[in-house]
Structures are given as structure tokens and as C-alpha cells.
């Protein structure tokens, strides 16, 4: 079974809001000094599901696929040390400043060119743009079925049995292969890189393709192909003033809060 996991390099999504800055003129986030890109957490969970499938089947290959600048190499290394077999990087200045559409276009073209792929996994959304578009986009472009928000995947008799997280529980969905599945955090804990895999990772093949090698025209990609125009990027203002309750004991503090809430007719 051949699995492709799409992974995106993003700024650490857990950095505190208090130190997060954007450059409004350039419409970009200001990178924090000394921080590195990380693999988007949902993509790490997608890779975890791929590894579980391979463990369960006792066979199969896992290819990491990423579109981005040379800085994405660190997340490729990370993915390989978690157990992926090889990686394909789409690196070309013409990919720059694209949108979800052009990104899906390039990833879909790469998957088609690779050939023989049974399962394509993506995160439910990239944790920087929070769009949640690329996975389903790849499915449409390749004419494949898609199942979103997977928390578990079992492969039986050449079929995918997917547990999909819903707001009020989950549903079990059957899908044929090849298919696209987007993965949610309900997957649970992801594994750590083992020493053995990390040692092996350095020797695993990493290929890079340009737009030309994908057979795509520059006019379909990056800024030129994008359908979305970024008009503004800003940090929303938040002007709430907190009134801290005073009191010596929990009873006194609680009493003061209840009094405030009652006076404000909130309770």
C-alpha cells in the first residue's frame, strides 16, 4: 500500500498571542527570532495514522509531500525520523504566495506524477492559515473521494474504514481506494522519533521537483494562479479591562464575584 502524507511547515502555532506580531504593510507575520518552522500539528497526526496503518498491515510505504521553501527541510527530516520512507519536496519560486487552490493544484500534480498512490492523507487544516481546503481540493482535482476529520483509519479487504469526528460523536465511513482523508487531533498521542529511525532518516531519499518537472505552467501557480487576494492582515484589538476580585478567603472572593454577576444580571 502506498501512502502519501502532505505536510506543511508553519511557524510554531503555540507561541503566545502576547508576542505574536504582523507586519501590516507587508501583510505577513513577523517571524520570532530564534524560532524554527514546525510540522503543522494535524499533519503530524496524519503521519501518525499512516504509521499505524503500516504497522497494522505489516507492509506499505509512506511518502512525505511538502510544498515550500528550502526551510521546510527540517520538517521533512522530522517526518523521516518518525518513520516515513521517503520525501518529495516541491521547491520553486513560482510556487510563492499562492493560495489553497494553487497549492492543491501543485500537490495533486505531484501525486499524479508519482503514480500508484492508494491513500493521500492531509491535516484537517494547516495551523497557520486554518483554511482546511487543500485536502478536499486535491480530491476534487484528482477525481477521488474525500473523507474529512478522521480520527482513525483501518484498512480491510482493500477498503478504508474511517472513523470521522463529528460535533456530537463520530461516524464510521467506508471508502474505496484511492482516496483522500483529512485527519483531526482526535487521533490522540503521536509517537516520538526513535533513535533507530533517526539514524536511518539521514539515508532516506529526499527528492525535489520544480514546477516544470510537475508539468505545470507558472501562470497556474503562486501569485499568478491564485484566486484569493489578501487585502489585509492584522492583530484584532481586544480592549477588555479585567476587574480582579479582592478578598482574603475563597468564600470572600466567590461572594464578591457572585455579587458582581448578580448586579450585572448575568445570574
Amino acid at each position: 500500500m502506498k501512502i502519501v502524507v502532505c505536510v506543511k511547515a508553519i511557524p510554531d502555532p503555540e507561541i503566545a498571542a502576547s508576542i505574536f506580531r504582523v507586519d501590516e504593510a507587508a501583510k505577513r507575520m513577523v517571524p520570532l527570532p530564534g524560532t524554527r518552522s514546525v510540522m503543522s500539528p494535524f499533519d503530524e497526526q496524519a503521519l501518525e495514522l499512516a504509521l499505524r496503518i503500516r504497522d497494522a498491515l505489516g507492509e506499505g510505504s509512506i511518502t512525505l509531500l511538502t510544498l515550500g521553501a528550502e526551510t521546510t527541510r527540517s520538517i521533512v527530516k522530522h517526518g523521516l525520523s518518525l518513520g516515513a520512507d521517503d520525501a518529495l519536496m516541491l521547491v520553486d519560486p513560482v510556487f510563492d504566495d499562492g493560495d489553497s487552490y494553487t497549492t492543491a493544484r501543485a500537490l495533486a500534480a505531484a501525486i499524479q506524477r508519482m503514480g500508484g498512490v492508494d491513500l493521500i492523507l492531509t491535516g484537517r487544516q494547516a495551523a497557520d492559515g486554518d483554511c482546511g481546503v487543500v485536502g478536499c481540493g486535491i480530491a476534487e482535482l484528482l477525481g477521488l473521494p474525500a473523507v474529512t476529520f478522521a480520527m482513525d483509519i483501518v484498512v480491510t479487504d482493500g477498503m478504508l474504514v474511517i472513523e470521522r469526528a463529528l460535533g456530537e460523536g463520530s461516524e464510521i465511513i467506508e471508502a474505496p481506494m484511492p482516496a483522500v482523508v483529512t485527519v483531526s487531533h482526535e487521533v490522540g498521542k503521536v509517537r516520538y522519533a526513535s533513535l533507530r529511525e533517526t539514524m536511518k532518516a539521514a539515508r532516506k531519499p529526499v527528492t525535489a521537483w520544480s514546477a516544470e518537472q510537475l508539468g505545470l505552467d507558472a501562470s497556474e501557480l503562486g501569485t499568478r494562479g491564485a484566486r484569493r487576494v489578501l487585502e489585509r492582515l492584522y492583530v484584532p484589538v481586544n480592549d477588555v479591562q479585567c476587574e480582579y476580585m479582592v478578598g482574603e478567603t475563597p468564600e470572600e472572593l466567590a461572594g464578591n464575584l457572585v455579587e458582581r454577576l448578580h448586579a450585572a444580571r448575568l445570574i
Binding site: 493560495d99 489553497s100 492543491a104 467506508e174 484566486r227 489585509r232 475563597p250 464575584l257 448575568l266 445570574i267
Partner: protein
């Protein structure tokens, strides 16, 4: 896209009734269309739809296309796409809006790509300026917001819950109801829903509750959530949670509030032992009043809160329950 005069709202129906977010979307669509003399169209697929079409008209739709067929009993993108694609082909809207729910988040990108266009997901503000449809959406886990526009038409966007005012219901409102037959070839549906597992806990109430008591890592375990549950009961509210608390199994996942959980907008949101990470606040920022209880005076949650207590929630929760019960007497 030059204008937003013709809008198409994809309605989501549960048990024969349009979900609340449909009414919020119709409120937004109505406001946009009225400004430009445009039309609000809606489309709904389902099985046993009852008066869903009439309800959408009463809430602001001008025309509603309805397909009621057993194959639509359970949502699947493969089943929904051909008919919606056809409806949009008939209506030729300038923009298509879909609720940002598990259904909408699954459907919208597929529909967008099928139409050769793109989608802005989770929009919390929409306006037309200089003939351009401007879509505002949170990004970077809620730490930033972006305003985007689309070069391709129709512009698709999904609408974040609790961000737009619904139109008041008008039972005598005029509108056209078009009942249609499905063009779907059942053989083209490649996926199959084998089973639906409903969470035993009543998580749905969370989204409509007037008061939410939410617990996080500071709850320290199931015991903490028992206290939070008692506090919620005393207040007539519902229990919510941070992702940390859900991931640790202290609370069912249907209680998770935030970017990858539910969006709530109660009158009162009491965040207990929750640090206030952007991804959590993304799901509760529209609460009228936030109260924080946290041992750490510098916890980010206080920056969103009107009232705060710095202290140990395990001592404060019983005290709060006592005071509230005393108030009720």
C-alpha cells in the same frame, strides 16, 4: 466578483429543521442583498424535510430550491455535490455561503474546486466595499485576522457560527419554493456511512446555553469536572472544556470549545483553570462576558475577561456553588 447582489445559501437541516446557523446566514445574506437590490437564494437537500423550505423563506430567503429524497438522509459530499452544483448553475450567484460546521467544512472546499473557484473558510465578518466582497476570517489560531477577496466567481465562503444576527421570523413573508428532483446517479456515491455513534453527553446544549462553565488543565482531573458540573447545574448552564481537558479524557470531545472544537457565544462564559490560548479563545471570544479563575495572574485568559479571580479553583468552585445556592433561596 464585482457585487454581491445574488447570494446562494446552502442550508443544513437536522431532523427536518434548518440549523440556527442557517438563520444567521440568511440574516447576513439579506443585509448584503438589500443594500444592492439583490436576491437571496437558498438550497436544501435532505430526507423528510417537512417545512424546512417555508422556514427558510420566513427567515429571509426569496427563493428556496428543495430536494427531498431518501438518499439525502445522511450527509455525504459525493451525494450532495451534483445537485448543489446544478442549483448553483441555475442561480448563477455572485457568492455562495455555507455554515462552518463539520458538514460545511467538508462540503465547501469540494464545491469550490468543482466550480473552479476558491473558498474562504470560517468567516466572521463580511462586507461589500467599492463593489468588492470582503471576507474577514481569523487565522494563526485566532491570533490574527485577514481580509480576503476572490478573483474567481462565484466567491464561496463558510460562515462561523454566532457571528451574524438572524432576521426575525416572518411567517407571512413571500417567497418562491421550488421542489426539484435529484439528478444524482446513486452509483457515483463512492463513500458509505456505516454507522453513526452519538456521544452520550448532551454536547449540543453547550452551543445554545446562556451560561457556560468551562474547565481546563487546572481542573486536574475528573473530580474537578464534577465540581464544574455542579457549578453549571447551580447556574442552569452547560459544561465546556479546553482541548487539554478533552485530550486527557476528563471530558467528552463534544465539550471542546475552540478552533478545533465548538464555537459558543453565551451571555456568561466562566473559564476555570484555562490558560486562554488563542485557539481556545477562538471558540468563546463572542461570549458577552467572560470570567476567569486561574492561579496564574498573568494567564492570557484575564486579557479577555471582564471579571477575574486569582486563586485555586478547587477551593473556589465549592465556595461559588454555596454562594449561588444561597442567592437562589
Amino acid at each position: 466578483m464585482k457585487n454581491a447582489s445574488n447570494l446562494f445559501v446552502v442550508a443544513e437541516v437536522v431532523d427536518g429543521h434548518p440549523v440556527g446557523l442557517c438563520h444567521e446566514m440568511l440574516g447576513l445574506a439579506r443585509a448584503l442583498a438589500d443594500r444592492s437590490g439583490g436576491t437571496v437564494h437558498a438550497g436544501v437537500l435532505g430526507s423528510g424535510l417537512g417545512g424546512a423550505g417555508e422556514d427558510l423563506i420566513a427567515h429571509g430567503a426569496d427563493t428556496v430550491r428543495v430536494i427531498d429524497a431518501p438518499i439525502f438522509a445522511q450527509y455525504q459530499a459525493d451525494a450532495w455535490l451534483p445537485d448543489l452544483h446544478a442549483m448553483i448553475g441555475q442561480v448563477r450567484p455572485d457568492a455562495v455561503m455555507i455554515g462552518h460546521t463539520p458538514l460545511g467544512a467538508d462540503l465547501a472546499p469540494r464545491l469550490a474546486f468543482r466550480l473552479g473557484t476558491n473558498v474562504a473558510t470560517g468567516c466572521n465578518h463580511v462586507r461589500v466595499e467599492g463593489g468588492k466582497l470582503l471576507l474577514t476570517r481569523p487565522c494563526y489560531g485566532g491570533k490574527a485576522e485577514e481580509v480576503v477577496s476572490m478573483l474567481s466567481s462565484p466567491a464561496l465562503f463558510t460562515v462561523k457560527p454566532k457571528c451574524f444576527q438572524p432576521c426575525p421570523k416572518q411567517d407571512n413573508r413571500g417567497g418562491e419554493l421550488v421542489r426539484m428532483d435529484s439528478i444524482l446517479d446513486p452509483a457515483s456515491v463512492r463513500t458509505k456511512v456505516r454507522e453513526v455513534r452519538r456521544d452520550a453527553s448532551d454536547g449540543a446544549r453547550l452551543e445554545s446555553a446562556r451560561i457556560v462553565v468551562a474547565g481546563g488543565g487546572g481542573m486536574k482531573g475528573v473530580r474537578g469536572f464534577e465540581l464544574a458540573g455542579r457549578l453549571a447545574d447551580a447556574l442552569g448552564g452547560a459544561v465546556g472544556a479546553s482541548r487539554v481537558a478533552c485530550d486527557l479524557g476528563w471530558c467528552p470531545p463534544s465539550r471542546q470549545v475552540g478552533l478545533s472544537g465548538k464555537t459558543v457565544a453565551p451571555e456568561l462564559y466562566i473559564a476555570i483553570g484555562i490558560s486562554g490560548a488563542a485557539q481556545h479563545v477562538a471558540g468563546c471570544a463572542n461570549a458577552k462576558t467572560i470570567v476567569a479563575i486561574n492561579t496564574d495572574p498573568d494567564a492570557p485568559i484575564f486579557r479577555y475577561s471582564k471579571y477575574g479571580i486569582v486563586g485555586d479553583c478547587h477551593q473556589l468552585m465549592p465556595a461559588l456553588i454555596d454562594k449561588i445556592e444561597a442567592l437562589r433561596k
